[in-house]
Amino acid sequence: MTEKKGFKFEKSTVKLIASAVLLALGFILCWLWFGVVHGNAFGMLAIIVLAGGGFLTIRYFKQWREFGGVEVPIDVGQDKSKKTPQYNSLSIYPHKVVFEDVVKPEGQKWRCHNDGKNYFVNIWDVDDNKLKPFVLPDQQYRDPERFAQQTLELPAHRRLYRKRQKLLEQLAPGFMVLAIIVFWIVIITT
């Protein structure tokens, strides 16, 4: 396998740059509103563009941080312009899971929700050293819903450990929102 080198704009990077441009445009519009154009409609447009740009920048920055800039190595000789061949089986080995063509597959077909096609699902039997049809086991441990809600969530314990905030800490966000509204009124009316 060889790694593909070179700089490439990922989708997430393009979205981040576009939202940053929108945020910068919002700042420019606000500066124009205060310096040149004096009108409430223009001011509202400037604030909306600024707020929207800020929100989108933060959102796409988080997405970019998660997924941006990761190059997936490709096989030597793999031609990306060719369509991926359609295989008939999904095979599960101890060291890999692959879609491949199996000669005379056994068992029933399973539907794959990702592409809507049907595949035989096989698993490698380490004792017999061959592929066998995959069969799901019966429940041995715990139902995933009960495990999540009773063992992980622990609602009663979370309520016990929640720290009570002081009155000032509880009221502070409300006071700040009130201050923003008052400033907004002052800016519009003066």
Binding site: C30, F34, G35, K62, R65, E66, V72, T84, Y87, L90, I92, P94, H95, K96, V97, V98, Q108, K109, W110, R111, C112, H113, N114, D115, V121, V126, L136, P137, D138, Q139, Q140, Y141, R142, D143, P144, E145, F147, A148, Q149, T151, L152, E153, L154, H157, R158, Y161, R162, K163, Q165, E169, A172, P173, M176, V177, A179, I180, F183, W184, V186, I187
Partner: protein
């Protein structure tokens, strides 16, 4: 203090349903489990073991990743028996012993209580909401001040 929050960890799960279908799903990794959330509430969870991860090279629109097997009826699907047995949260319980599952679940619950106990410390100055509101106030004061100065000296 990270105002934007830590990036989410996600893993791909090869999820088998009871209706003979399967899907490659990206799920959030939280509390050592692959979780399905409904809003802020945990709906379902599957225990995640690094030793159960299997490389997948990708196919059509399915991204390459190291995947974990899972199905709708149980929290652990260890088809090649890679995970050692025991009552520690990083092991899988022994189904042949009657109290192994109980001890394993109670160890996980104890671990969760410690996580929630650490998270109980809330500080006004480390809250994201506080800093967003302060940021908005500062920007508004600055803009108003610039305009005031311009009007005064106009």
């Amino acid at each position: 203090m990270n105002l934007l929050g830590a990036p989410k960890e996600r893993k791909t799960q090869l999820y088998f349903r009871d209706d003979n279908s399967f899907e490659f799903i990206k799920r959030d990794l939280k509390f050592g489990c692959l979780v399905e959330m409904v809003g802020e509430k945990l709906n379902r969870a599957w225990k995640h073991f690094y030793s159960c991860q299997i490389p997948f090279p990708g196919y059509k629109n399915i991204q390459a990743d190291t995947i974990v097997l899972g199905f709708s009826r149980d929290i652990i699907l260890d088809v090649f028996n890679k995970v050692p047995q025991g009552t520690d949260p990083m092991q899988k319980p022994d189904v042949k012993k009657s109290d192994s599952m109980k001890k394993w679940r109670s160890n996980i619950a104890e671990q969760q209580r410690q996580i929630y106990y650490k998270q109980r410390e809330t500080n006004f100055w480390t809250s994201r909401v506080t800093w967003v509101l302060i940021g908005v106030l500062v920007v508004m004061v600055l803009l108003w001040a610039i305009r005031f100065v311009k009007v005064m000296y106009a």
